[in-house]
C-alpha cells in the first residue's frame, strides 16, 4: 500500500526543521574554529523524524532478498544459513564499547576470542598459524601474496615477478596479484575443468613467485593432481596459494595444508556462516604453513606464558594491512558457528554440501547442459539449457527463477563456457527446498520450449522490472543531486 510513497529516497521525505536525533545537553562554553577552517557550504542531508526513517528503511528492506527470505543458490558465494545466536553474540554491548587501544588487560576476552578462532582455523586449514586481520576474501588474497612476497624478499630472491593463475580462477586472483605488483601468467584448463598440469609445469620457472589455485575449482571439480602440482611448484622455489572461496566442501574431507598449500585465505562470510550484509563486512583470515609465520601482518595476538593475551608487532612482518585486528564482530560470529557445530558437526558440512549439489545436478542434467561430468563438490556449472533452439539464455533462466522466489545462481562465470549457470546450494537446505528448486528449473526448461517469450521477458513478479544497465553506465547518475 505504501510502496509508491516509500520507494522515494530518504531525501524526498525531507522537511525543513524535522529532526531524528537527540544529544546530551551541551554544558560547555562554545568554541569556534577559525573562519578559514570551517565548512562553508550547506550540508545537504535530509531532515527527517525518527518514525519516517524507520518506515522508510523497513519498506525498502521489503524490496530485498536475503538468505532468510529464500533459497540462494549463488555459485561460489556459499550462501548458507546465518545463525541467529551469532547475531546476538556479535551485538554484545560490552564489546561494542571496546576501544582497540585501551590497555590489553581490559580486553582479555576479546583477545581470547581472536586467539581461539586463530587456533581453530589453523586446525581446519592444516596450517601453522592464522591472522584474522584481512577484511575480506580479496583482501586476504592480497595479504597472502604479500606474505609470499615478503618470504622471497627475506631470501633475497628478487627475480620472482610473476604469479600463475588458472583461467577458471575468480577474478580477484589476477587482480590481487596485480595490486601486489606481480605480472600474471594464465594456465589453461582441460576439458574436465581441472588445470592442465603440463601447461602449468611448462610455465614454472625461477621467475614465478606463486601459483594460485582454488580447490575444488570454480567448476566444482577437485584438482586431483594437486600433490603433483605442489611438488612441481615447490621444486621451482615458488609457493602455492589456496583461494579459500571454495573451502566449504572440503570441511571434514581434506585440509589445504595437507594438500601442499603454503598460504591460504578463508572467507568467514562463506564457509563460516557470517552474513554477507549486502556486500560486507566480510572477513578473510589467512593461514600459513610452518616457516612463514614471521611474515604475517601486524598487529598479532599472542598468548603469553602466564596465559594472558597481548597484541604485538613484529619487525619481520610484511607490514600492516589493517589498523587493528580485522572485522572483530565477524570473527565472533565465526567462532560461535564453529563452537555450535563442534568437531563432529564440521566434519559433516563438506559432504552434505556436496550431496545437495550432486542431488540438484542429477535431477537437472537431462534438461541443462552439463559440460563436465561429476561427482561435483559444493557446486557445479551448467552451460545453459541443452536445447539451444529456444533462444532462451542463462540470463533469462536466472531472471525467471526470481519469479518463483529463488535467488538466481551465479551466471556467466566461470568464463570457460558461454552460458555458465553456477549452482551452489550449501548444506543448510532441506531436501524439500532442493526438490522445489528442481521442479521450478524443470518447469522453466519446459517454458523455454513452449512459451519462450514468458521466460525471455522475466522477471514478472519482482518489485521492479528489468533495469536499463546501458543507460546507467553511459550517463552515470550516482547521487541524489544529479537526479
Amino acid at each position: 500500500m505504501n510502496r509508491d510513497f516509500y520507494s522515494k529516497l530518504i531525501f524526498e521525505h525531507s522537511h525543513p526543521g524535522r529532526q531524528g536525533y537527540s544529544l546530551p545537553r551541551n554544558a560547555f562554553a562554545h568554541v569556534e574554529l577559525p573562519a578559514g577552517l570551517t565548512r562553508q557550504g550547506a550540508l545537504d542531508l535530509p531532515e527527517v523524524d525518527e518514525p519516517t526513517v524507520v518506515r522508510h528503511y523497513t519498506n525498502s528492506s521489503n524490496n530485498n532478498f536475503g538468505v532468510d527470505t529464500g533459497f540462494y543458490p549463488l555459485g561460489s558465494c556459499t550462501m548458507k544459513y546465518n545463525p541467529k545466536i551469532n547475531e546476538e553474540i556479535a551485538a554484545d554491548p560490552v564489546m561494542a564499547r571496546l576501544h582497540p587501544l585501551q590497555p590489553a588487560s581490559t580486553c582479555q576476552g576479546a583477545l581470547e576470542i581472536y586467539y581461539t578462532l586463530q587456533q581453530a582455523l589453523s586446525e581446519i586449514g592444516g596450517m601453522s598459524e592464522f591472522t584474522l586481520n584481512p577484511f575480506a576474501g580479496a583482501h586476504g588474497e592480497l595479504t597472502g601474496l604479500m606474505t609470499i612476497h615478503a618470504y622471497h624478499d627475506s631470501r633475497e630472491d628478487w627475480g620472482r615477478t610473476k604469479v600463475i593463475v588458472p583461467d577458471s580462477a575468480h577474478g580477484t586472483n589476477p587482480a590481487s596479484a596485480a595490486v601486489c605488483g606481480y605480472q600474471i601468467i594464465e594456465v589453461k584448463s582441460l576439458a574436465d575443468g581441472t588445470v592442465d598440469v603440463a601447461d602449468l609445469k611448462s610455465k614454472l620457472s625461477d621467475e614465478v613467485a606463486a601459483v594460485m589455485m582454488t580447490n575444488p575449482n570454480t567448476v566444482g571439480m577437485f584438482e586431483k593432481s594437486i600433490p603433483e602440482i605442489a611438488e612441481a611448484v615447490h621444486a621451482c622455489g615458488a609457493l602455492l596459494y589456496y583461494d579459500g572461496a571454495n573451502l566449504n566442501p572440503m570441511l571434514g574431507v581434506a585440509r589445504p595444508g595437507d594438500m601442499g598449500f603454503d598460504v591460504m585465505h578463508i572467507n568467514l562470510h562463506k564457509t563460516f556462516s557470517t552474513p554477507h550484509g549486502g556486500g560486507g563486512p566480510g572477513s578473510g583470515p589467512i593461514g600459513v604453513r610452518k616457516g612463514l609465520e614471521q611474515f604475517l601482518p601486524n598487529p598479532r595476538v599472542v598468548k603469553l606464558a602466564d596465559g594472558t593475551f597481548d597484541v604485538v608487532c613484529e619487525e619481520s612482518a610484511l607490514g600492516r594491512v589493517s589498523m587493528w585486528l580485522g572485522n572483530f564482530t565477524v570473527e565472533m560470529r565465526a567462532l560461535a558457528y564453529i563452537m555450535s557445530l563442534g568437531s563432529e558437526g564440521l566434519m559433516k558440512v563438506g559432504p552434505l554440501a556436496a550431496l545437495n549439489a550432486n542431488y540438484i545436478m542429477h535431477h537437472l542434467r537431462d534438461l541443462y547442459l552439463l559440460p563436465i561430468e561429476g561427482p561435483c563438490k559444493h557446486e557445479f556449472v551448467f552451460d545453459g539449457l541443452i536445447d539451444k533452439s529456444t533462444g532462451v539464455t542463462t540470463l533469462n533462466v536466472a531472471k525467471r527463477l526470481l519469479d518463483f522466489g529463488f535467488h538466481a545462481p551465479t551466471i556467466y562465470f566461470p568464463l570457460l563456457f558461454h552460458e555458465s549457470l553456477m549452482i551452489e546450494p550449501t548444506e543448510t537446505e532441506t531436501k524439500e527446498t532442493l526438490d522445489r528448486f528442481i521442479e521450478v528449473m524443470r518447469q522453466i526448461a519446459v517454458e523455454a520450449k513452449e512459451n519462450p517469450e514468458l521466460v525471455n521477458s522475466a522477471p514478472h513478479n519482482t518489485p521492479i522490472a528489468h533495469p536499463d544497465d546501458t543507460e546507467a553506465a553511459l550517463h552515470p547518475v550516482v547521487t541524489y543531486k544529479e537526479l
Binding site: L9, G20, L23, F28, T38, R39, Q40, L45, V48, V54, Y57, N64, F65, I89, V94, M95, A96, L98, G109, I124, A138, M146, H149, G171, V179, G181, F222, I226, R255, P275, G277, G278, G279, P281, L318, G319, R320, V321, W324, S340, S343, G345, V349, P351, L352, L355, Y359, P375, L402, H407, E427, T430, I464, A465, P467, E471, A472, P476, T479, L483
Partner: protein, 444 residues
C-alpha cells in the same frame, strides 16, 4: 533425526538422495580426492555446544573485558549509536543479502547505497562516491594507487607525517608491494611542513599527495594553496578525513582536493574492538572511471520507473581481472547502511550539534587538564576540533596518567610517547566524567 539444527538432512534423506545420485555413501562423492590427502581423524576441536553453552562461553569472554569511559581516539571514536540503527540493520532482508547483483530483488540495498553515496558527497563536497570500502586505512591505500594509475608514468606519492600512523603504515605496505615510492612530508609544530612539501614537489614527478583533516593530533590544518600547487604539477590531492568532522571543518571539495577518503566509523558505528568499520572514497566526476569499488547508479526499468543498479562495472576485477582498478570485490554494505541511517537521523543540524558538543567538551577538558599543571597542550597555537595532544610535565608519565585514570574506569587517552598523550572527546563523555578525570590527574 537430522545431524544438527543447521544440517537438516536426516539419515533417510541422505540415503534417498545418494541413491538418486547413484552413490552408496557420502564418501563416493569424494572418490576423486586421493586417499593420502583425506583427513584421517576428526578435527582436534571441542565437541558441539548447545546454544546455551555458546552463549555462556561468550558471556565469560565479555566478563574479561571492561567498558571504560573512553577518552581514546587516534582514529577510533566512541560515538553514540542511535537505537534505530541496530533495529534496521538487524533486518535479515538487509543482513543476509549478498552483493546486489540481481537488481530486481535488491532494490533495498541498491537504494540505500545510492543514498549513502549522495550523503558522502554532501559531507566531502565532492561529486561522486563509491559504494564504500573496508576501512579508512585501506581506502587511503586505494587512493594512493588511484593517483598512480591516473598519472600513468609517475609512481611517487607523498604522505604527510600528520596522517594517522596506523593509516600511514597500511598505505606504506600497499606502496611497498605495488611499487609506489612513498615519501613522508615532515611535520613542524604539529602540522605538515609547507616548505618541505614545496621542496619535495619540485621535480614534478609526484602523482599524488596525501594529507589529513583533522590530522592525527586533532589539529585542523590550513591547506590554502595546496590543491593549486598540486594541480600545477599534475599531482592529485588526497585528503584523509574523519567523516563526522566534515560537517564542521572545511571540506575536501572546498580545499579543491581531488579525492577524499577516510573512515566513517565516527558516523555512529560502535568501536567493536576495531571493526567492522567503513571506508569511504569520494572524487570528482572526471576521475569516476579510475575509482575502485562498486558504484550504484540510477536508471529506469522497463516500466519507466526510477530504479538503481550497480554500474560502471567495467572497472572491476570480475570483468577486467588483472587490469581492474583494484582487487576489491565487495562493498561494506551493512556499514554503509549504518552511516546512511545515522546521517538520516542526524540531518544537517544534528551533525553540527554533535561536532559542537565534542569540540566544546574537548576545549573544556584541555583547559581543565592544563590547569592541573601536570600537562599542557603540545601545540597550543593550533586549532583543534575534538582531539588534542597533551605534553606531560616533567615527572609525569603517560603510563602513570593511564594507570591512575583506570582506577575510576577511565581510559585516559592514547600514549604516543612517555610524555605525550592523545585525548579525544565525543558526546559520550559528560562534564562530570571530565571533572573526575581532571581530579585524578590533579592527584598524581
Amino acid at each position: 533425526m537430522s545431524l544438527h539444527r543447521y544440517l537438516p538432512q536426516t539419515e533417510q534423506d541422505i540415503a534417498a538422495m545418494l541413491a538418486d545420485c547413484h552413490a552408496k555413501a557420502l564418501d563416493d562423492l569424494y572418490c576423486d580426492v586421493p586417499t593420502e590427502l583425506r583427513l584421517k581423524q576428526p578435527y582436534d576441536l571441542p565437541a558441539e555446544m548447545s546454544e546455551k553453552e555458546v552463549r555462556d562461553f561468550f558471556a565469560k569472554m565479555r566478563a574479561n573485558c571492561s567498558t571504560l569511559t573512553c577518552f581514546g581516539g587516534a582514529g577510533f571514536y566512541d560515538h553514540y549509536s542511535p537505537a534505530v540503527i541496530n533495529s534496521i540493520i538487524s533486518r535479515s532482508e538487509f543482513l543476509t543479502a549478498y552483493t546486489p547483483y540481481q537488481p530486481e530483488i535488491s532494490q533495498g540495498t541498491l537504494q540505500y547505497i545510492f543514498e549513502y553515496q549522495s550523503m558522502m558527497t554532501a559531507l566531502t563536497g565532492l561529486e561522486v562516491s563509491n559504494a564504500s570500502m573496508y576501512d579508512g586505512a585501506t581506502a587511503t591505500a586505494e587512493a594512493m594507487m588511484m593517483c598512480v594509475a591516473a598519472a600513468r608514468k609517475k609512481n611517487r606519492v607523498l604522505i604527510s607525517a600528520t596522517v594517522n600512523p596506523m593509516v600511514a603504515d597500511v598505505v606504506r605496505t600497499y606502496a611497498r608491494y605495488h611499487k609506489v615510492t612513498l615519501e613522508v612530508i615532515p611535520e613542524k609544530d604539529g602540522v605538515t611542513s609547507v616548505e618541505a612539501f614545496h621542496e619535495m614537489m619540485g621535480a614534478g614527478d609526484v602523482a599524488g599527495v596525501i594529507v589529513a583533516a583533522p590530522n592525527f593530533y586533532g589539529i585542523v590544518e590550513d591547506y590554502t594553496g595546496w590543491a593549486e600547487y598540486c594541480h600545477e604539477r599534475k599531482a592529485l590531492l588526497v585528503m584523509n578525513c574523519q567523516a563526522s568532522a566534515l560537517a564542521a571543518i572545511k571540506t575536501p571539495g572546498e580545499w579543491g582536493a581531488d579525492i577524499a577518503v577516510g573512515d566513517a566509523q565516527s558516523l555512529g558505528m560502535p568501536l567493536n574492538y576495531g571493526g567492522p568499520y567503513l571506508g569511504y572514497m569520494c572524487t570528482t566526476k572526471a576521475l569516476i572511471r579510475k575509482m575502485p569499488g562498486r558504484i550504484v547508479g540510477a536508471t529506469k526499468d522497463e516500466k519507466g520507473n526510477r530504479v538503481f543498479v550497480l554500474t560502471l562495472q567495467a572497472r572491476e576485477q570480475h570483468i577486467r581481472r588483472e587490469k581492474a582498478t583494484s582487487n576489491i570485490c565487495s562493498n561494506q554494505g551493512l556499514m554503509a547502511l549504518y552511516a546512511t541511517i545515522y546521517l538520516s537521523l542526524m540531518g544537517p543540524k544534528g551533525m553540527q550539534d554533535v561536532n559542537a558538543l565534542s569540540c566544546d567538551g574537548a576545549h573544556y577538558l584541555a583547559a581543565e587538564l592544563a590547569a592541573t599543571g601536570k600537562m599542557q597542550l603540545a601545540y597550543a597555537d593550533k586549532p583543534f576540533l575534538h582531539e588534542f595532544l597533551m605534553k606531560l610535565a616533567p615527572g609525569v608519565t603517560a603510563d602513570a596518567v593511564i594507570a591512575k585514570a583506570m582506577e575510576a574506569g577511565i581510559f585516559a587517552g592514547v600514549k604516543l610517547a612517555d610524555d605525550l598523550l592523545l585525548i579525544a572527546v565525543t558526546e559520550m563523555q559528560s562534564k562530570a566524567d571530565m571533572d573526575k578525570y581532571v581530579s585524578l590527574v590533579k592527584s598524581l
